[in-house]
Amino acid sequence: MKRVLILLLAILFALPALAVDPSEMLKDPALEARAREIGQALRCVVCQNQSIDDSAAEVARDMRRAVRERLTAGDSDAQVFDFMVARYGDYVLLKPPFKLGTLVLWLGAPMLLLIAASAIMLTALRRRATAPLPPLSDEERERLRSLLGR
């Protein structure tokens, strides 16, 4: 039981291995932390949906170095992102920017949800709005009784 628990805990707290190797890291922990945050938001341009921090590709390594060089030179995070976008386009951002070309991407799903929710609401409202049936007339009640055989 204890062994299983230890195994479970190990799996639970295991962190994904990063491609960043110690020789690349900056001495200043604050700067390195920023580099990590940026690295995780930048897409490796030769990989399928991997950040440059997760990728062992040559170009990802160069991009990580470029990020650290920009930060060391005193760039803000936004300036580092701009630096990469100027070279690799919006593609390099794992989180696409909000603009005209990405409107459907950002708003498509919420819009669909809104449309579906309003359709359901409308149907429900209409169902409730239907007037209650008028009571049976004497004639109908007579017929019903004869049909039921009473």
């Binding site: 341009v45 170009v59 160069d62 470029a66 976008v85 070279r87 690799y88 386009g89």
Partner: protein
């Protein structure tokens, strides 16, 4: 809404998706293409040591000579580079193209040996051993090729090896002065 019309909804969805897939297949759209933001902008900076011993370093001035220039990133360890190499040789010899070769992440002696073996189509050759110039050029790997006009504006960016078709449809018309 009429209830019967509602039955058409799945059919309409199917038609929409089929239309999109058909368009994707036929429009020659490549979802793996990451495009290039370099096109239409001034070529990034060029400041490299020469690959061949005794040559002058490569500078920005080489990209603003008034003549269209081809910039090719290659490496001796790269197989697609081997495949496209004869096309550059022909472009240099037959068509008199100005080609700048940049050995990317390649030991200079290995790049030199590769060119000695296969022939050297480069009027100028530089070395980008650490890949810094590659980042500045928005390079994703080798081979990649840029067409730069006489004013130093990038007009075309090929990711991957160039083909016979690229030479015929894009590079030769570009060298003759037309925009590709």
């Amino acid at each position: 809404m009429s209830r019967r019309l509602l039955f058409l909804l799945p059919l309409a969805t199917l038609a929409l998706m089929a239309g999109f897939f058909a368009w994707s297949l036929m429009a020659g759209r490549d979802p793996a293409s990451i495009g290039s933001v370099m096109v239409g902008r001034p070529a990034p900076k060029l400041d490299l040591r020469a690959l061949r011993e005794g040559d002058k370093p490569l500078t920005d001035a080489l990209l603003r000579t008034g003549k269209p220039t081809i910039v090719n990133f290659f490496a001796s360890w790269c197989t697609p580079c081997l495949a496209e190499h004869p096309l550059f040789t022909r472009l240099a010899q037959r068509d008199g193209a100005v080609i700048i070769g940049i050995a990317w992440k390649n030991k200079p002696e290995e790049a030199r040996a590769w060119l000695a073996k296969l022939g050297d189509p480069f009027l100028y050759a530089g070395q980008d051993f650490d890949g810094r110039t590659g980042i500045d050029w928005g390079l994703s790997g080798v081979p990649e090729t840029y067409l730069i006009d006489g004013n130093g504006i990038v007009r075309f960016h090929f990711r991957g090896p160039i083909t016979e078709k690229d030479v015929r449809d894009t590079i030769l018309p570009f060298l003759k002065g037309g925009k590709p």
